[in-house]
């Protein structure tokens, strides 16, 4: 914000976190930890995508996970081996049956497809603000979900789609996560990003200086869907089988929780939110498992993670309504501290 130096410092800190995660996973040599780290990197791509739109426009969007689904299904259809397609997608259009692309190209196409779908459907929605915008984004999620449930030619309907080649490992996920961090930061500091943040702070004043509010939001929404589509495809090639319910309310709640807790207005907030929520989820899951193993309660203990995430969101919204990093990127905070310290020495 305050300049190139702070932006660079922020990038260095955030990327160092991802690198530390990868190194940590390699040293630990525990397969479970590798899985957690890969999932974390995929969440980074998704949450950073949400941040691009939500953080800079100030408009809550529920539709994001729907675009994750678009990316995942697109990439799946383009990569499932031809001989498996008869089983995995019995109703597939013959034109698509012969296609079998490299997963790396398909992931990119998945992202682009999500972006194109977003560009086509979202322009009218970008004219809305406040509650109307939130409700229509929710409606968009329902529409996308319904299409996934019923377009059996492409998605195998509500049934699980399997046979997707495994292509995502920790390195690929971490690499794309780092690109997502850089991309989100560049967008925030770009001309469009700056003007969009202006509309977020005061829509009336932004109109009065000549900002095209709908168009700015629309651009961010498309980029946001690109991230979501890539994240979805990446996830598809990691998990290798999924059904439409993987892209609905529960997942929406998790990525929103990560972003809101970390602080939607900043890229740092998105990254820190993903790390915090992922690690606390794992700790809680272990806690839940040990409770069940010890048979302290007569029944099974379930849902502790969701309840704690919900409570954490409520607590954050009460105590720090903007999230942990509400206005300033982590690099700016460090920069200011340095500046203050040196001023102190002078006196």
């Amino acid at each position: 914000m305050a300049g190139m130096k702070d932006t660079a410092l922020t990038l260095v800190i955030l990327i160092a976190l991802v690198v530390a995660l990868v190194v940590g996973a390699e040293i630990a040599e525990i397969r479970l930890f590798g899985r957690i780290a890969t999932n974390l990197c995929i969440s980074l791509v998704l949450v950073l995508g949400l941040q691009v739109f939500m953080g800079n426009s100030g408009i809550l969007s529920f539709a994001h996970i729907g675009f994750m689904g678009v990316g995942a299904y697109t990439s799946a259809v383009l990569t499932i081996p031809a001989q498996m397609k008869g089983m995995a997608l019995p109703d597939l259009y013959p034109v698509l049956a012969a296609i079998q692309l490299s997963p790396y190209i398909a992931i990119l196409i998945g992202g682009l497809t999500a972006a194109v779908v977003a560009a086509l459907v979202s322009y009218p929605l970008m004219r809305l603000s406040d509650a109307a915008a939130v409700i229509t984004s929710f409606a968009l999620l329902v529409v996308l979900h319904t299409v996934m449930l019923h377009w059996s030619e492409i998605t195998n309907g509500p049934r699980t789609l399997f046979g997707i080649p495994k292509a995502t490992d920790l390195y690929l996920a971490a690499g794309i996560a780092i690109l997502a961090i850089i991309g989100a930061m560049l967008f925030r500091e770009s001309r469009t990003g700056l003007l969009l943040r202006a509309t977020r702070d005061d829509e009336t004043a932004a109109g009065a200086i000549g900002a095209d509010v709908s168009r700015l939001r629309w651009k961010a929404f498309i980029i946001s869907a690109l991230f979501a589509g890539i994240g979805g495809a990446l996830w598809g090639h990691f998990i290798t089988s999924f059904s439409p319910k993987a892209f609905y309310l529960k997942e929406t709640f998790v990525i929103l929780g990560m972003l809101v807790i970390g602080g939607a207005p900043t890229v740092s907030g998105a990254v820190i939110g993903v790390f915090l929520v992922t690690f606390s989820f794992e700790v809680l899951r272990a806690f839940e498992a040990s409770l069940n193993a010890a048979k302290i309660f007569t029944g099974q203990v379930v849902g502790v993670t969701e309840i704690v995430l919900a409570l954490a969101m409520i607590a954050i919204l009460i105590l720090r309504p903007g999230g942990l990093f509400a206005t300033m990127e982590i690099g700016v905070l460090f920069g200011r501290r340095r500046q203050k310290a040196s001023e102190g020495e002078k006196q």
Partner: protein
């Protein structure tokens, strides 16, 4: 211009030329801010026209009007509070097609003129009210407007600040070849600064012309001080 059956502006005709400063005055509720809102498209008039050099702007969006060269400030300051002071000023240059680097340079120039250089990297929301007012004016100027409408620019400023602002505003029209319309309640300030005055009361024009003639207009004295006859009948 009707507000739910109440006519807020009626048969008001106001002209502003580049190079001049016009003061828009009148008692509270006389329609001054509504007039500015009509001129900048925030409020659509039921009848009547807004034109710049014979180009009709009536009914255009605030954005379209801004791009035609009309800039404004708001009665209650509206800044982008989570952007830095410099970014606030930059935005208006960017929306008018100025490149990124040039917009930064332009913002820095304006910040220097308005005594804000030291605060350039602070968040706009952290400033005091007087400084916020100056940022808002600097932001409006970053668009290189032909007409600038300032709604109570000196409100909330101390005497020293408002004195400094007056000096800056006085030279603006000649320097930048723009027309300046100022709403303010501080009569001493308005009388000193403006070339012409336009007086509204209850949504109608009650006087217009040069400062001296308006000052002595009986209708203006009545609007501001109350009619002597009324005062007598109440007593």
């Amino acid at each position: 211009m009707d507000f739910a059956g109440l006519r807020a502006l009626d048969q008001v005709s106001l002209t502003l030329a580049t190079g001049e400063i016009v003061g828009l005055i009148g008692p509270n509720g006389s329609g001054k801010t509504t007039l500015v809102n009509v001129l900048t498209g925030q409020v659509k008039p039921i009848s009547g026209r807004v034109t710049i050099q014979d180009v009709d702007l009536t009914g255009l969006t605030p954005r379209a009007i801004a791009l035609k060269g009309i800039a404004r400030s708001f009665q209650i300051v509206r800044l982008f509070n989570n952007l830095t002071v410099r970014e606030n000023v930059e935005t208006a240059a960017l929306t008018h097609g100025v490149r990124r680097r040039a917009a930064k340079a332009k913002a820095d120039d304006l910040l220097a003129q308005y005594g804000l250089t030291a605060r350039a990297h602070d968040l706009a929301g952290e400033l005091n009210y007087g400084a916020k007012r100056r940022v808002e004016i600097a932001r409006a100027l970053a668009a290189d407007p032909r007409f600038l409408l300032l709604d109570e620019p000196a409100a909330g400023m101390n005497e020293e600040e408002s004195e400094a602002l007056m000096r800056l505003l006085a030279t603006l029209p000649a320097e930048r070849d723009l027309g300046l319309l100022i709403i303010d309640h501080d009569m001493a300030l308005i009388m000193r600064l403006c070339h012409r005055l336009h007086v509204l009361a209850s949504g109608r024009t009650i006087a217009e012309g040069d400062v001296e003639s308006v000052r002595n207009e009986p209708a203006v004295i009545e609007a501001y001080l109350g009619a002597p006859a009324d005062a007598a009948s109440h007593a």
